[in-house]
Structures are given as C-alpha cells and as structure tokens.
Symmetry: C2
C-alpha cells in the first residue's frame, strides 16, 4: 500500500461508504463494521457513532487508537459477517481471513484486503450521543487494486454499490479545500 497525503483522507469517507474499524486491545486484534461516520473537518477529523454495544468499543476507549479500513464490493459478505458476530467470542481476522498488516503510527492493524486504511487517534468523545471524534494520522491506499467500488449500507439489510463518477471539479473549484 502506498501512503496518501493526509489532506486527501476526507475524500475516502465523505462519500459515505460502509467501513471496517480495527482495534487492538494490547493482545488481540478486532474489527467492527460501521456506517455511522461523518467528516467533521478537512484537517482531517472524523466522527463515528459507536458505544458499549460494540465489543470493539472497550479497546477503542482504552487505547484511543483505531484504523478505519475501506472495503470494496468484493468484500461485502465479509463486511456483513463482521457486522453480525462479536469479537467477544470470535477472532474475526481469522474467521474472515483478513490480513492484519502493521500500521505506521498506531497499534491497531491495517487490513491488507481493503482499498484504503486510515490510521486514527481518538481526540474527543461526545458521551451523550456516543460520538467519537477521530483525527487521521496516516493514510494508506492500495493503488494496484482493480475493484475500487465501495458499498453504502441502506440500513435495511440492502447495500448500494458505487456506480459511475461525475466530474464537477470546474463548477466546484471555488469550494475545494486548498492542498487537496
């Protein structure tokens, strides 16, 4: 995987794909499926909604680190499988045959099979809404990957695959962040 500059990290989450969030509690890797994510700032800062109902949450709270991995459509059944079992009784990296790669800065692992991996540190929590605010500290992208279509969870058990891309860069020029 090659590193992507931090100023582009928000473009991986802004389209709203379902993501995998990895953590490491000191001994074991774990991973959860999340689609409640939001860009909060270009710096980049992200918000995710998660709480004690996710087993990963304890490791995230304790270590204040995670990796947001972006899966593509060929991984959908793993994504759904990861989202419907618990790290409390399952080694999800083993069960779903995911390759845990060492991250550059955080201890949580990258997922080798994913299109992109964003190393994050917890910088704040909004307890009353179960919102965790994350700062990206490194970004990796597999630029050799042929399948690059992400998927969007609808929330009713269906998922929408990326279709075609429309370019409005000229119309948007005045609004794009500097250094993109």
């Amino acid at each position: 995987m090659r590193q992507l500059k931090l100023s582009r990290a928000f473009t991986l989450l802004e389209p709203g794909p379902v993501v995998l969030v990895t953590s490491r509690d000191g001994r074991r890797n774990n991973v959860m499926t999340i689609s409640w994510t939001m860009v909060v700032d270009f710096t980049p800062l992200f918000a995710i909604t998660t709480g004690a109902w996710n087993y990963s949450f304890a490791a995230l709270r304790k270590t204040r680190e995670c990796v947001i991995a972006i899966p593509t459509v060929d991984l959908l059944d793993k994504v759904v499988g990861i989202g419907t079992c618990s790290g409390a009784d399952t080694d999800k990296f083993a069960r779903f045959k995911l390759t845990a790669l060492p991250a550059k800065i955080v201890k949580a692992p990258l997922i080798g099979e994913c299109l992109a991996n964003i190393e994050c540190r917890v910088v704040d929590r909004v307890l009353r809404h179960n919102i965790v605010v994350l700062e990206a500290v490194a970004v990796h992208v597999d630029s050799a990957r042929k399948e690059t279509r992400t998927v969007h969870a609808v929330g009713d058990g269906t998922f929408i695959v990326d279709g075609r891309r429309i370019d409005r860069r000229t119309m948007m020029a005045s609004k794009l962040p500097v250094g993109l």
Copy 2:
C-alpha cells in the same frame, strides 16, 4: 409526496448521499448543500456538521428547525450550484427553480423536486466540533419518482452515482432494528 414512517427515516441518510438542507428565517427560504451528515440513532437522530461559514446556519440556530431534502442525480447541477453560491445575496429557490412546499410540522420548506424530505428539529449542538444534532419529526417520500439514484460527494469535485443494490437482508436479520 406520501409520508414515510419515522422508523425508516435513517435509511435515507445512512447510505451517505449529498443532501440539501432548507431553512426559513421567518421571511425567506434558504437552502444549502451538505454531505457531512451521520445517523446517530434509529429514533431517528442525525448529526450534521455546519457553522457560521454557511449563511443558512443563522436561521438554523435561531429557528432550531430545518428540512433535509434528498436530491437525485438528475438534480446534480442544482445541488452543486446551491453549494457554490450564498443565501446572503441569492434567492436560491428562485435561481434554481425549486418548488417550496409547506412542511407538516416545521416552518422550513420541503423541496418538491427531491426524492424525500425529512422535517427536523435541532435537539442539541456540539459547539467545539460544529456538530448539530437533529431529530426527525416527519418524513415525506415521492414514491412516483422514476429517478431514484442519489449521489455521493467525494469532496474533490467529483460525485459517485448510486449503482446496483445488493440484498443481504437474510444475513443481516439479527441486526436490523425492530419496526423497520
């Protein structure tokens, strides 16, 4: 437009489409383009990131009401146009030929051209991150609309259109909210 039950409102935002947010300052309607949104709870609660850099923010803060309208791909040039001018000097409903329809509960208008409209009340703000937390109070869907594909902003001036839908309802059954 027909009303949709509130328990399904989150399924309109969970896939991460770019949205329009309408407001009414007491005299004039306004609308802004946003893609920094997140589901926070099934109840349904949503978070959006916005602040004083959007002219609409003053009306949102004062009235504590808005409508999240979901546009489809045929409206993309209006969506980009709305996002690149300001309500400070532009009547965007007139300029982009949007039909302001009366909402059921809030004073902000629905947009007649959109696939869906979610009437919202501001229930909280997280000032340090410019996060506004909204509760949906009514949802309307245009079920006669032929074009139903939404678009996802990448953030670099390009947009991804919805592609095909994949059904994993059986695999997901244990995780779907009751009353969906």
